[in-house]
């Protein structure tokens, strides 16, 4: 039986190897400068997306005390897409260009935090059935997807299909302008969470237990929720919604690392998330030759796994 730390090292090594492979394959003395200048930002973005999705999913499952719900399953990234489109709609795309791309991102994050807290209070105040929450999330997601497309048509009826095509997740058109803000964002939230890492372990025991063990539960939940909202905004702003990645990652992490300590679970899941994305991108680029965006494959696998989880959970009750 391996201990937790050595498992983390294995993940780290696998991660580094994959990143190296990603950077090195296909380099030669003529193209290396150009290729690296393209590949380094790209891999940074991919790692950032992988870790922020895994990070937010882990946190979210801890505060909601379940194993199936993730922020994307609850429709939070569709909500983000909607907020972003809504801002363009309100301000107009000309003014948007003037205010800069980061402006939209920052306003979206603030609104996103606000809405997430509202939704959370609405849904989790009472003890709601987990399947109810799931169905709610699915429909909620559809609602905001439709609203987003709706506004896009209002903004420019002629470009509708073009916009629609962009909505497929693909790591070949990552929004690089936000890369630095995103890195800082993930970094700061990680520091913040790691200062409270002990109380997360206690919170995963549920509200009553956590309170009797001396954790200021309700305040702590809101703090974590803000972090989740920021992380979801970051990953969605960079690449768009990848519904089932978080779910896959967090379940694989739990199976593989087998620990309840967030000190190990969070870094582990971030590594696994990045490994899946970097590895998936490698396969997509070298084997499938770019023909399929990786989001499609992830949603296929994630969807099947999700049905399996629901069926298993359904039997347990």
């Amino acid at each position: 039986m391996m201990n937790v730390k050595s498992k983390l090292y294995i993940l780290l090594i696998a991660f580094i190897v994959l990143v190296m492979l990603f950077l090195i394959i296909g380099l030669n003395s003529y193209n290396w400068k150009y290729a690296l200048s393209r590949r380094i930002p790209k891999i940074m973005a991919i790692i950032l997306i992988g870790s922020s999705i895994s990070f937010s999913s882990t946190l979210f499952q801890t505060i909601t005390n379940n194993r199936i719900l993730t922020p994307s399953v609850l429709g939070l990234d569709s909500l983000y897409m909607f907020i972003q489109t809504f801002i363009v709609f309100v301000f107009g795309s000309m003014k948007m260009a003037y205010l800069g791309k980061n402006f939209n991102f920052l306003v979206s994050v603030i609104l996103m935090v606000l809405f997430s807290v509202i939704i959370f209070l609405m849904l989790f105040k009472k003890k709601n059935n987990i399947f109810f929450l799931l169905l709610f999330g699915m429909v909620f997601g559809t609602l905001f997807q439709s609203l987003t497309s709706f506004m896009q048509v209002l903004i420019d009826p002629n470009e509708f299909l073009v916009i629609q095509n962009r909505s497929f997740v693909s790591f070949n058109n990552i929004n690089m302008d936000l890369l630095w803000i995103a890195i800082i964002g993930v970094f700061l939230t990680a520091i913040y969470i790691f200062r409270h890492i002990g109380s997360l372990d206690v919170m995963s025991l549920g509200r009553d237990n956590a309170i009797s063990l001396g954790v200021n539960y309700d305040v702590q939940v809101k703090r974590v929720l803000i972090v989740v909202a920021v992380l979801v905004s970051i990953s969605t702003a960079l690449v768009g919604p990848i519904t089932f990645l978080g779910l896959l990652v967090i379940n694989i992490s739990r199976e593989f690392i087998k620990t309840y300590k967030h000190k190990y679970l969070i870094p582990g899941s971030m590594l696994i998330g990045s490994i899946i994305l970097v590895g998936g991108q490698l396969i997509a680029e070298r084997i499938m030759k770019f023909e399929t965006p990786i989001g499609v494959v992830i949603n296929f696998l994630g969807g099947i796994y999700f049905i399996y989880l629901i069926l298993r959970e359904g039997k347990a009750i």
Binding site: N128, N129, F131, F132, L134, L135, F136, M138, V139, F140, T142, L143, Q145, S146, L147, S149, F150, V153, L154, P157, F160, L161, Q164, N165, F168, T243, E291, T292, P293, V296, V297, N299, F300, G303, I304, F306, I307, I310, L311, G314, K315, I317
Partner: protein
């Protein structure tokens, strides 16, 4: 909600629908038999109106059938993988039999839709815990898995644009000669009338319905064939219209209870009126442009779905 109010609503909405659009068509012009205006009416407006009414009827009745067979209020072609399977079928027909006629494409799509629905029922048999929300959840997930298969192959064959354009539920492309396939659904709607009582019985479960002298598997089979044929023909002529089949039967049953036999007529009237209303809305908001109907129905439909969900949860 009385049946004749719905009928009046449908007639009023139909008249409105005939007389809005970029090209001016006035009642006066039609009465005076002005050639241009009559032509617009016959080639574009009337086909559009008829297709909306037929599609609305078909989709809402399919929802009603699926809800009574599975005894679950949240099941409909969109939440059972039927529509997404039909979509996959269309893709297959576009790739493999691109030269064949629309009827052949529809038949292929129908076979896939039927397969998808049976797969869904098969999975349901495995679910021991049949809570009200777990079943549509499985259906939605099944739909999204099938959908990602579709997207995968659409990408490989460079047909994403094709398939999104095709399947975006939209009535603006409906003109004479392009929608007649929808009429295929009418005999099946009538068939649904004739079998209404038996679907209600089948909903009570295999044991009870067999006890009452019913061939359970046959009735379920007939129900799914009706649903799949309607779904395939709507998807291929109009595109995907989300949640319509789910919300309409629910709204009707809130007012009128659960007797399938007396609910069919109000359900199809309401389905058509709702679809017409959404279509008129989509045509007016950014006039002279149009918002695809799948978006208007998607927004209104998911809000109503959420309402129903909260209502059921209370």
């Amino acid at each position: 909600m009385k049946g004749h109010y719905l009928l009046i609503a449908l007639i009023v909405l139909s008249l409105i629908s005939l007389f809005i659009g970029v090209k001016e068509v006035s009642i006066k012009g039609v009465i005076n038999l002005e050639y241009d205006e009559l032509r617009i009416l016959l080639l574009s407006r009337i086909p559009r109106l008829l297709s909306i009414i037929v599609a609305g009827m078909g989709i809402s009745i399919s929802g009603l059938i699926m809800q009574s067979i599975t005894q679950n209020k949240f099941v409909s072609p969109t939440t059972a993988g039927t529509i997404d399977s039909a979509k996959l079928g269309i893709l297959v027909s576009l790739i493999a039999y691109s030269n064949s006629s629309t009827i052949i494409k529809m038949l292929i799509s129908f076979v896939f839709a039927l397969g998808g629905s049976f797969l869904f029922l098969g999975i349901l048999k495995k679910v021991k815990h049949r809570g009200a929300v777990i079943i549509p959840l499985v259906g939605i997930m099944l739909g999204s898995v099938v959908d990602s298969i579709t997207t995968f192959f659409a990408y490989r064959n460079d047909m994403i644009q094709n398939i999104t354009a095709w399947l975006q539920g939209d009535f603006s492309m409906i003109i004479k000669g392009r929608y007649e396939l929808l009429y295929v659904t009418i005999p099946f709607v009538i068939l649904a009338f004739l079998y209404a009582n038996r679907f209600t019985l089948a909903g009570m479960g295999e044991d009870i319905s067999t006890n009452l002298g019913l061939n359970y598997n046959r009735i379920v089979g007939i129900g799914l064939v009706i649903v799949s044929i309607i779904s395939a023909s709507v998807v291929i002529t109009v595109g995907r219209i989300p949640f319509l089949g789910l919300i309409i039967p629910n709204i009707i049953s809130i007012y009128r209870g659960d007797n399938l036999n007396t609910n069919i007529v109000p359900t199809i009237l309401m389905g058509s009126s709702f679809l017409l209303f959404c279509d008129i809305l989509g045509r007016l908001i950014i006039y002279p442009y149009e918002i695809p109907i799948s978006l208007t129905v998607g927004v209104l439909g998911s809000i109503i779905f959420l309402y129903l969900l909260f209502r059921g949860n209370r």
